[in-house]
Amino acid sequence: MKRNLNYKPKLSRNISNRLLTLISGIFASIAVLPLVLVITYVLIKGGSLINLDLLILEPQPPGDDLENAGGIGNAIVGTFIMTGIASLISIPIGVGGGIYLSEYSKDGTFSRFIRFGTNVLSGVPSIISGVFVYAVIVVSKVIFGSMFSGIAGGIALSILMLPTVIKTTDEGLKLVPNDLRNASLGVGASMFTTIVYVTLPASFRSIATGVVLGLARAAGETAPLIFTALFSFYHITSFSDIFYEMSSLSVLIYNFALEPYEAQNELAWAASFVLVIILLGINIISRLISNLASEK
């Protein structure tokens, strides 16, 4: 008896198979759609507004001038400063904590608790870290009597970055083969020497990639800043300005999007353009670098 093994397109299982494939393909297209729509719109709408003045000047208070809303220069600077403060706090603490988890801890209760806590902390809504910093730092004026400030904003962002930095350090160090640690310890190096001169350099690239991605996320955050750093219409002029209200791209977008004036709305679009370009740029470059490294 000869069997017919040819593909039978009308068989019900083959029809449902093709249908399901089609559906999953449609889902994938829908998933990609928002990115394409948002980015195209931000690039076209925001990009058309960009000029040098806009990147440098301070914004005008809403309603003052209906034609010209000024620029976003101080917001760009503010975003960099507060992200910088957040990095200065969260990178040392996070890398240190990650080193402990990966290199020293022996899966005891304490390290399991820290890992658990890291996961929980990364799930805490960003607005809560704003509320926390507001209650602990802004209201109490503990930092040299300043209330709303760039410092407070930076601290709120650092709480968001901390779990990311710990996790990427922990995971990055875990990828370093044990052979390498043994090699160093085997010639009589201490744990400190081994970590600083052998293990950390070997995992530098993957840790750096993770940290930079975490940094990019923090730079785009708004919720922790709206009542910690608040907003400012002015450029900073001296170092002590970090103890006062500070503007950021994200808070500028939020504030000006809801203004009834066209000029302010346009400034929000321009700020979105700058923010999206910076963040996508960082994302794509760091991914490219880590891909290149892994191919080598």
Partner: protein
């Protein structure tokens, strides 16, 4: 025998030992900072809200007055808004996200296109919430309003669709939440599907299963713990998501079952009112923040537990 005179540090010097020990203590201290921050957040939010807890008790959870003038506070509108927006966004995002993940892990399309789709979904996660909010306000909401009006026209008898869409509201908030949690669900599902061992797939195909029979009966069940964990993480994210929601939800404390009407979420309420609040309003907002924290905490801990206990042993 080798001469040892050239090696001055056969015995470690005191400073070297101190640095070695000190470094370890330093890392222990830094690791403890995580626990310290987490516990401080819990305690601070809890103690700041004790006044409102004492005054309003559990009634706070089921009443929806929010009046700084009469000092009457109830968070029901915001709690309802938080739950309904996050759950409905999940209902839409889970099939989309898991479907996309299947599409880019099973070999339907060439590797390079898979990678591009995967990259695009991950880049979507890099777009700040506030930019998505801006886009939702000026582009998405005006675009979808006619469709929402149709829903109201034909399905207005359903309580959840019983008001006329007039602009910002819970429905556009749900859609923007879908955009925000889609990357989490997709990337975690993709990772879980990629971890399903090849031998399991082979076993399914080897007994004559079609591709989708294999996906539904073998591959998805094997990846289910990771996917469920990812879905729960997404739920936590959706409940705590602030900016985009605040910009598009309408910020209204008037309670309505309908998702076509303006509403509130806890995080939107915090973003909107915290800056200018004083007196018992601060405490009431802290109470709401505490509720939000407990909700996300439960979801996140549950997510971790699911991932640990449901993971299949191959």
């Amino acid at each position: 025998m080798a001469s040892n005179k050239d090696f001055l540090l056969r015995n470690r010097t005191r400073p070297e030992k101190i640095i070695d020990k000190g470094f370890k203590s330093l890392t222990v201290f830094m690791a403890s900072m995580v626990a310290f921050v987490l516990i401080s957040i819990l305690l601070v939010v809890f103690f700041e809200s004790t006044e409102a807890m004492a005054r309003y008790g559990l009634k706070f959870l089921i009443t929806s007055d929010w009046n700084p003038v009469t000092d009457q506070y109830g968070a029901f509108t915001a709690i309802y808004g938080t739950l309904i927006t996050s759950l409905l966004s999940l209902v839409i995002a889970v099939p989309l996200g898991v479907g996309t993940a299947i599409f880019i892990t099973e070999n339907f399309i060439p590797e390079s296109i898979k990678n591009i789709i995967g990259l695009m979904v991950e880049l979507l996660a890099a777009i700040p919430s506030v930019v998505l909010g801006l886009w939702a306000v000026f582009v998405m909401e005006p675009f979808i309003r006619p469709f929402l009006s149709l829903l109201y026209k034909y399905l207005g008898w359903i309580p959840f669709l019983s008001t006329e869409p007039i602009g910002p509201g819970m429905a556009p908030a749900i859609l923007i939440l879908v955009v925000m949690i889609l990357p989490i669900i997709t990337s975690i599902s993709r990772d879980s599907l990629n971890q399903v061992p090849f031998k399991l797939r082979q076993a399914a195909y080897g007994i004559g299963a079609t591709r989708w029979t294999a996906i539904f009966n073998v591959i998805l069940p094997a990846a289910i713990s990771g996917i469920t964990g990812g879905v729960l993480l997404a739920l936590g994210r959706a409940m705590g998501e602030t900016m985009a929601v605040t910009m598009i939800i309408g910020n209204s404390n008037n309670f309505s079952w309908s998702i076509l009407s303006p509403g509130y979420t806890i995080s939107a309420m915090l973003a909107n009112q915290f800056g200018e609040a004083d007196g018992s309003q601060v405490s009431s907002l802290m109470y709401a923040a505490f509720i939000l924290m407990i909700l996300t905490l439960i979801v996140n801990i549950f997510a971790q537990w699911i991932v640990k206990s449901l993971s299949l042993k191959y």
